[in-house]
Symmetry: C2
Subunit: 253 residues, 2 copies
Amino acid sequence: MRSSVPPFQLAELPSSIADDGDETRFCGTCAFSSACIAAGYDKPELAELQCLVEHVGPFCAGEHIFRTGDPFRAIFAVRGGTVKTRMVDKDGREQVLGFYLPGEVIGLNAIYPERFPCDAVALDTAFFCRFSFPAMSALASRVPAVQQHLFRMLSKELGSASLLAGDHSADERVAAFLMDLASRYAARGFSATHFHLSMSRGDIANYLRLAAETVSRVLSRFRAQKLIQIEGRELHLLDVPGLRAIGQALLPD
Amino acid sequence: MRSSVPPFQLAELPSSIADDGDETRFCGTCAFSSACIAAGYDKPELAELQCLVEHVGPFCAGEHIFRTGDPFRAIFAVRGGTVKTRMVDKDGREQVLGFYLPGEVIGLNAIYPERFPCDAVALDTAFFCRFSFPAMSALASRVPAVQQHLFRMLSKELGSASLLAGDHSADERVAAFLMDLASRYAARGFSATHFHLSMSRGDIANYLRLAAETVSRVLSRFRAQKLIQIEGRELHLLDVPGLRAIGQALLPD
DNA sequence: AGCGTGATTTGACCCAGATCATGGCCGCCG
DNA sequence: CGGCGGCCATGATCTGGGTCAAATCACGCT
């Protein structure tokens, strides 16, 4: 199953749900679109996907999509905007677990505990498709492509955890982080060399297990080396091979 | 679904597969036993689980169960022994991703890429149940409890990745590591205060992103503080509350 | 315009843990 | 037996990145 999918989307199916005029664009990046294609986008089972999906949002920057301990009832696909997930330990220290871009899915780590084990916080104005998980499981039993898609999404997320693994320098981590973001934007059809960092330096640092000052210094150094151009949160990647070389130990391939 | 399950196991079902006399004991810790219970251990569908499972082993210490790049066809439940998973980057540096005890499952992170993204290496003499994944998926479509169990195992593994997350001291990491092992042994019915470390100090250090010397020093310090008693790889936990307090920021609850 | 709050950058200093080095222990094998 | 190669422990030294501090900037608000 390719990640570049034909432009047939959920929202283009004959549908009784309201169309806000943006759905085509939003669903163009949807995490489930490949499941829809695989199952055949005109099969009657897919009408059920529409029954169990609910569009939610907007959430403003700083608002919670869910909180640690909330009972798990649904997973959320990001339609637009950016989200961070984080845990807060007893001492009140935050740990950022990940950033989620349009088309990616949050909440999968709540299936087992049946409660959300982390918070999800919008980093900018964000919209979601909310998929009832019990309904989704039931559908998965009847539509193998949906089941397979869920397995794949879960497995994929397992793999991405290893971006943080290992004992690596600040330069390696930051370069790998930027390349990872670039490839994820590219996979959804956005520019791979020019994008906006929705998260603060502090969030990046926390995610990469560095101090905010270190991230700032590394970015300044990368700029001085003409690897990137950065103004505030607006980022251009100038030397992708150079960045890839620096981050190679943390990157796939 | 509790992790302490009644003692009904796969191997106790009426079965046509060979019984080597050890299956009852081995399967007593099996990762799938709760799925069997949930589905009702006498339902005919479960006969199919027996068709798709295959007992493999023994593997000796240092032998590979699978290697990076091998095509993904099955997942493996540890019946006995211990396994580490690891990635080796282009520079030849190893990164230990996890340790797997009896009853735990390896290979779930290979579903999405359809190839194993890491090596699995036996740390001592190890045995496995090999579950064909295509057959398992097909069964999951027909038996909701099996599907649910797969979802839960995947989700559970997502959560466990956060043991390494965060910016924590060597003492915190080592204490949390010992407590994690203890609770996992306890969950399978082994002693929670006395067990054998199948992995070298170097493997522990690599997993925790420390130097082997640091792990050695921390363990010596814990011994001096009467938190543990340790001789080679034989470990007694003497002060569980004390260890828990040190590792609390990394531990659940 | 003036102010306040939070994000970002940059410099100075320090420390936890890495690295280097040494020695002991144990099992294996010729 | 004796040599060799893994592991493990422990001391000495070094350093990447954390911490503290201060200046600047970008805001929205009054």
